[in-house]
Amino acid sequence: MHVQELILRLQRYWADRGCLVGQPYDIEKGAGTMNPLTFFGALGPKPWNVGYVEPSRRPGDGRYGENPFRLYKHHQFQVILKPSPAKVQEMYIASLEALGIDMRKHDLRFEEDNWESPTLGAWGVGWQVVLDGMEISQFTYFQQVAGIDCRPVSAELTYGIERICMFLTGIDNIFDLTWGEITTDQGIFPIKYGDVRHREEFELSAYSFEHANLELHWMLFTEYEKEGWRMVKDHGHFLSAYDQALKMSHTFNVLDARGAVSTTERPGIIKRVRDLACACARAYLEHETTKADAAQEVK
């Protein structure tokens, strides 16, 4: 199983079950939940099904490409089903079968793992899905996003692409996975995950742990914050403001990896990101209500 084949199968599977296929959002982020397709999609009353790949950057997890199991940037496949379907577990299990995992030969467990994102003011309850002892997915029923109760509740499924691919192939070094094959006039060449990403892992780890300019990042953090509040407060623009919140979050992660954030400062800084994200969520809901009212009047 190649990395790209895994992604293609997941997209096909969920598209066939009535999901939009979304795209990664082009701003650095720590997890697929931060993509506006999820953050805003999980808010409000409208039904919403979407699945997409999200490259997720976690500066603190960087290992210079030297650790065969850990990455600065890994890929999640994220599915949001709103409202959560009654057969959601069965749908998820069938998706594993679509990846070629024969359930008759494996051990599957759903173990309690409740998810919380203090930067997004979001939490949910659910499980880590454990296959033969390995965590391959996170499964969450969103209860709140941006401090607002989710009505209806969404189910969020997050697959760890690299993990599952290693598991399926039995290869125990991420960089030895095959991303895919390219066909040229000269023949077919398999391309390894390492070929595509190893140098990136090295440089981004070095940047996060050693080279990132702290002064610049502190300054950026404050400026993004100002810009975000200006957009949401003065203009009621929640998407451009939310972009700034995402940038704040990543900037904070870089500072954190550099050890520049003390334990006492940390909650205060996370709260600054959360406050902006929550303001965006409120502006979004207000906008949706106004839109709905306007549509009502037209009728």
Partner: protein
């Protein structure tokens, strides 16, 4: 009356293991209370739980409530009937209230009343249990206290996880309840694996068939049975590789809670990981992979592990292979942390401790370390230990909190610091002390094995306890969020079991001195609270040591803070725990107490004033008692005092007219009591 068995099963998406037992128990209690209220007898309630099931079976429920006769007493007859024998307004109202004709009201004199009153007998027909259950069960379920409740889909119903099927039978009949849109039926679901080949739900014919039907579908419904089966497999699989399981009851509980089909798998990991400290391997395997380690008879680990699978077999070895693969990745991480942490000396991390808050009001770990150092130096000096080594151990004891390994496994705090210091070539006194200073970690846990470990452990705990008292964080009732009682108990246990010469009152002073700069409460207030706190801990220690009741009760009031003295007295007293003479001594001690109440006897008295033989004999005994060289000798003399004391009380009238004589007799008793109190307050010896 006919009885039947009730079976209720909520089939849910996977319920968190930690809630299974409490939810099952809570519902069983609530049901019992409800049945009692409904006057429905029950014989026996069993409960079952597994990751996807909460189920209860109640045997011996009657099919209907018994008819009930109720007697209602109303106003006196004279107020209900007028002189002509006609009903008054009051009488009419009483009949109306109970919905009967006035003619059906009787007049009788009920017990406890002085005159005849209006009385009605009401017959309440018992209702069918099926009906009662139908009405009550949904409320009993939704009334459960769910610690981390959730909603799902469009529903506003809250529960621990979504309910997907309800099985509810009363005998062979379905109890037609509905919870959050799910209607109860007579079917349920077995193991997912089973239903791949059997897509239909399973019919449960009657409540008694519950476990056997489920077992045929791959689910062992009873937790206890799963645990037993797994325990057997663990032992067998460990024995196969000539080892034994590193036991962990808590882990076994967890494994039995997370599977429906109990199966233990044995896997292997590369031998090279055995270079990691044993504690790291055991903790890593447990926390990350819910796995047991296996050790040989020398206590050395084997490169094997045991974990649970939720299926009956492992036909192609995928489950074993997968677990081995993941474990290797985890151990790889542990080895990375271990190597990274050792790249710099532990000492270089001390600076980072200034950013690590111990407690908002008590400052950072740097401040805590300074206080611990001060206390540890004093304790080491008192114990005749090397003060410089104590200072070094105290200075370094918290540095491992900022290592990668402890960041990953907080429960390895102390253990890692000790390991790293040993690696750096620090003296054994230092690294062992650091390694042991969190001990004992539980009421039954081991205490530090070395004197220096004891000193550091006491210093650390004392700082925590006294610090929290000084800022007003005092444990009350069941509230002890910072586990101060456990810390206090640890202090007492270490000093007691290591046989320290220690006065707890002095120790409290030492702690108060160290935390002065951060104290918020007035020192005298904290001191008083701390002395009470430690006295309770000492009382518990006596109980914990298995000392007989009379010994505990009488030894403590005669002095609790000097631990060595207390221990010696308790040991001496224990020799006499069964001695009948001491029971008599207790009587006399009480008598002396009563006589001396409200008196102010002088210390000295002129023995020549004493007149009767009995009191002269007693005075002679007193001299011998006061000269007793130790507790043992004193107690032996006390045992012989029974006769003379009884004789004294039988014949001597203490409070006589002659003031001088009376004063001498009171002094004699006073001095006797004082001598008693050197070992115990015998008036508490019951």
């Amino acid at each position: 009356m006919d009885t039947r068995t009730l079976l209720l099963e909520l089939h849910c998406e996977e319920i968190p293991a930690r809630f299974l037992k409490s939810l099952s128990g809570e519902f069983a209690e609530a049901f019992k209370a409800w049945a009692l209220e409904q006057k429905l007898d029950q014989l026996r309630t069993e409960f079952f739980y597994s990751p996807r099931k909460l189920a209860w079976r109640v045997e011996g429920l009657p099919v209907a409530q018994a008819d009930q006769i109720e007697i209602q007493v109303g106003p006196p007859q004279r107020m209900c009937v007028d002189e002509s024998g006609m009903p008054t307004q009051t009488g009419q109202k009483f009949a109306e209230k109970w919905g009967i004709e006035f003619s059906a009201v009787r007049f009788e004199q009920p017990t406890g009343k002085k005159e005849p009153c209006a009385v009605v007998t009401l017959k309440k027909e018992g209702r069918p249990t099926l009906q009662l259950l139908t009405e009550a069960l949904p409320g009993l379920v939704s009334g459960l206290h769910v610690p981390k409740a959730m909603r799902w889909g469009y529903s506003e119903f809250e529960f621990v996880r979504p309910i997907r099927n309800i099985l509810c039978l009363f005998g062979h009949e379905i109890v037609p309840i509905e919870i959050d849109g799910v209607k109860a039926g007579a079917t349920t679901w077995g193991h997912r694996l089973y239903h791949r080949d059997h897509p239909e739900a399973m019919a449960i014919k009657h409540p008694e068939a519950y476990e056997t039907t489920l077992e045929s579908a791959g689910v062992v419904a009873a937790f206890g049975k799963r645990r037993r089966l797994m325990d057997d497999q663990l032992k067998r699989l460990a024995a196969e590789v000539a080892g034994q399981v590193v036991e962990d009851e808590e882990l076994l509980d967890v494994l039995a809670e997370i599977v429906e089909c109990p199966k233990i798998i044995r896997g292997e990991f590369p031998v090279s990981f055995l270079d990691l400290p044993k504690e790291v391997l055991v903790t890593s395997l447990k926390e990350h992979q819910k796995s047991f380690c296996i050790e040989n008879d020398k206590g050395e680990l084997l490169p094997c592990f045991l974990t649970a699978a939720n299926r009956p077999d492992d036909p192609q070895g995928f489950v074993k292979g997968g677990n081995e693969w993941v474990l290797k990745a985890r151990l790889y991480d542990a080895r990375f942390f271990f190597a990274e942490d050792r790249r710099t000396r532990l000492e270089t991390r001390l600076e980072k401790l200034s950013h690590l808050t111990f407690h908002r009001e008590l400052g950072s770990y740097v401040e805590k370390t300074e206080r611990i150092t001060r206390i540890a130096e004093k304790l080491a000096a008192d114990r005749g230990l090397d003060v410089a080594l104590a200072r070094e151990a105290a200075r370094l004891c918290k540095a491992d909190l900022v290592t990668l390994m402890v960041g990953e496994f907080p429960e390895l705090q102390g253990v890692m610091g000790g390991e790293y210091l040993r690696n750096e070539g620090q003296p054994q006194d230092v690294w062992m002390a650091v390694k042991e200073h969190y001990q004992p970690v539980s009421a039954e846990g081991d205490i530090p094995t070395t004197p220096m470990g004891g000193v550091l452990a006491v210093a650390d705990k004392l700082d925590t306890v006294v610090g929290c008292f000084a800022i007003g964080q005092i444990p009350t009732g069941s509230k002890d969020p910072l586990a101060l009682r456990r810390a206090g108990q640890g202090i007492v246990r270490i000093a007691w079991e290591q046989g320290w010469t220690l006065n707890l009152a002095d120790l409290v002073e030492e702690g108060l001195g160290a935390v002065k700069a951060r104290a918020v409460k007035p020192e005298s207030e904290s001191r008083e609270a701390l002395l009470t706190f430690f006295r309770d801990r000492v009382a518990y220690q006596l109980e914990h040591s298995g000392l007989p009741g009379p010994v505990r009760r009488s030894a403590l009031p005669a002095g609790w803070s000097d631990l060595k003295d207390l221990r010696a007295r308790c040991e001496a007293l224990s020799q006499f725990a069964e001695d009948a003479r001491f029971a008599s001594l207790a009587q006399s001690a009480k008598r002396i107490g009563n006589i001396l109440k409200d008196e102010e006897p002088r210390e000295e008295f002129d023995a020549a004033l004493l007149q009767q033989d009995e009191e002269k004999a007693l005075a002679a005994h007193l001299i011998r008692l006061e000269m007793a060289p130790d507790h043992g000798a004193l107690l032996n003399s006390l045992a012989e005092l029974v006769q003379p004391l009884e004789a004294f009380f039988n014949s001597v009238m203490v409070k006589c007219e002659d003031a001088a004589l009376r004063s001498a007799r009171l002094s004699l008793l006073h001095r006797l009591r004082k001598t008693f109190l050197r070992v115990a307050d015998f008036s508490q010896w019951q």
